[in-house]
Symmetry: C2
Subunit: 479 residues, 2 copies
Amino acid sequence: MAKEKKMVEAITSMDVDFAQWYTDVVKKAELCGYTSVKGCMAIKPAGYAIWENIQKELDRRFKETGVENVYMPMFIPESLLDKEKDHVEGFAPEVAWVTHGGLDQLQERLCVRPTSETLFCDFYQKEIQSHRDLPKVYNQWCSVVRWEKTTRPFLRSREFLWQEGHTAHATAEEAKERTIQMLNLYADFCEEVLAIPVIKGQKTDKEKFAGAEATYTIESLMHDGKALQSGTSHNFGDGFARAFGIQYTDKNNQLQYVHQTSWGMTTRMIGALIMVHGDNSGLVLPPRIAPVQAVVIPIQQRKEGVLEKAEELTQILKAAGIRVKTDATDKSPGFKFAEQEMRGIPVRIECGPKDIENGQAVICRRDTREKYVVKFEELAAKVQEVLDTMQKEMLERARAHRDAHTYVATNYEEFKETINNKPGFVKAMWCGNRECEDKIKEDVQATSRCMPFQQEHLSDVCVCCGKPAKKMVYWGRAY
Amino acid sequence: MAKEKKMVEAITSMDVDFAQWYTDVVKKAELCGYTSVKGCMAIKPAGYAIWENIQKELDRRFKETGVENVYMPMFIPESLLDKEKDHVEGFAPEVAWVTHGGLDQLQERLCVRPTSETLFCDFYQKEIQSHRDLPKVYNQWCSVVRWEKTTRPFLRSREFLWQEGHTAHATAEEAKERTIQMLNLYADFCEEVLAIPVIKGQKTDKEKFAGAEATYTIESLMHDGKALQSGTSHNFGDGFARAFGIQYTDKNNQLQYVHQTSWGMTTRMIGALIMVHGDNSGLVLPPRIAPVQAVVIPIQQRKEGVLEKAEELTQILKAAGIRVKTDATDKSPGFKFAEQEMRGIPVRIECGPKDIENGQAVICRRDTREKYVVKFEELAAKVQEVLDTMQKEMLERARAHRDAHTYVATNYEEFKETINNKPGFVKAMWCGNRECEDKIKEDVQATSRCMPFQQEHLSDVCVCCGKPAKKMVYWGRAY
């Protein structure tokens, strides 16, 4: 009973305190737990199962484009990290350093990888000799460490899980193409599977990856109007190749530098799922990513035949390819409903003695709470239909929310006013100078999220300095 | 041509220099590469794909027994590692220490996990209150670090990949059962999937895991007669629970300590696959674990219709559920054959203009080199049959080799003579005292591999000291 009470206790309303609501959902949906290791999280079964589904789906899509998985060491010798100037400047201040192995001090410090460009470059330098060795299209699934000062579960932690793809190509064109291909893959994945609409674009020089020639990004908008960088794809040109001496002999027997890319997506997407789709009853998971898509909850389960029928329905749904389980625990139905809602299970199926008499069950959809009374023989088809509709409508709803919170500003007063009072994206023109980005950051704590591929002409001048505009930019406060 | 030559060059014969043969296979089958990080390896696509298949198969078997996956931090604060006395003594001398985060020295050193008992205990201590919270049957897939002095690819490296299961139970009986259940799962996996026969048994106190009440092991025999510990399962009793204060209230409202287990299998099984099944042409992969089970090699591929037919056969085999690819590169057939053999692809299918005229292809089996001429319409069924037979016979052959290299010794002269001259397992009686294990290690560099569950009575006295015997033990030199 004590535990039931704990779960049924309302979580903080997202309209009252969004940050506290987020923390409550993470905790009560049992996605992750705190540990004795400061800034690092323990990902619990309900959270990790989401990550496994993300992995499975991304990995399948990667492999369809020719990606091969590998595994590189987790340590980077200091001298290796130092090889590319911009890269080391970007990462050295936030890495964890290993100085001792067993009882001995190391001759050279090793950092725990914050990202693995330098390791892949070192590897490619040894592996690539001829144009026949190209392209290399490698990826690894691993954890990385960045010594952040302030941390939040899934969104920013000292250690997080991700995949990092690292490719080497014969030509600049091929590298550019791969960079864009992977950005599109991420965007499609977010929209089709996570039901999260994204803006595709390029980062400004200020915001690009340390060592990249160009960084492309997908940006999404959370329910509270803050932006989340959701996946990035970097084109390195031949910068790293020159720093690491990665050359191949082309068909004319000439030595050439390779052109490289890298791209990554992380466990922060679990945070995005919470903040895009969640509500005041907890998590709401899009059916395609939900580890459990439907739960059958028996009503008056001690009555004869009820548990058996619940189990029978579960088996029928399972046979139809639906990820389903029965909740046959001895908790009350009301408690089970609250739990199913907190955990974001897309559909629940209620079935009691009266339903059985009538040969029917009740389907309840998590996001809209719509209910359907369905004959047993139509149950599997109807559940699948509800899941499909829910997946589609969750994306539409998120897109409508994003669009309703995307504003335009054509002068600086309007820009500041909007950023300060209307959480969301602000589209505005920009002159291309870093000074304006710095001023905007200083004035209203917003950053350039991206220069979208789909440019619009909103005015002729930079919203900040009034000089001639070069690009339309999405601005926003971000996680 | 230069590259062709490099590949076709014979590898060292396993009978001349087994260690060099192993290194050659690892390199030429492109399983892993050396890195600038001393003692750490880069697992290449061909090696990592084997690991992915091991993961997929083990993970499925785990989940069938109720295992849930989680992810714990990679760092362990020194004070946490120190909590269980035997455990810290076992691991502290071989861990990597992080002392700095970014530019700051840490207040407390963190070690990179060599294994995660302490982290799971810390987590369980927070999570477990009531008997309703039990059992916890968690597992994680990750990498761990042990600062080894001497390293060898897959067999012993400073960082390696593994899974580590950590469970907590209400009773000692349940913990014991889970320990044995997982050992049996590992044994079945090795035999059914990797075609590696194993001896199941218990480790002596000298060889058991640091902090365990009992360690169970599966031991396999490599082609050179050396043993390989292939998977272990530990019963901790309530030792860790007492050190970490992990208690629950039972149904009578009494505080009780939990009982715990852990169990793991690592990337060293890729080394086992090489050393159990490989031959002087390279790797030989059991069909059930092979990332590519069959390769179609067109003969005289420039002749009209040959490449098309090869691709058609590949599609037919793919449709039959076989993992297959066409080798349509511009290398010579002889080179492609050598490559297929080096990489251990179980079956190759040769098809040239004459074959096409006759409506047939040639199947060649990797391990026995048996060839079958098969009509196109029977190809898929025959390939599947060959794969099934090969899987079965590889296990039988490995078991016959293991049995032929398992000896009995009933006195110490015979024991030393056998260990020194006949590589393999030696079964002999043991008094139960560590002194005899130490003396044997000193005299002939052999260790007790396990006290097998299937005990035999070989004599009444210890093979070493002549005192009354307590157990029959498998002895051997080991990797």
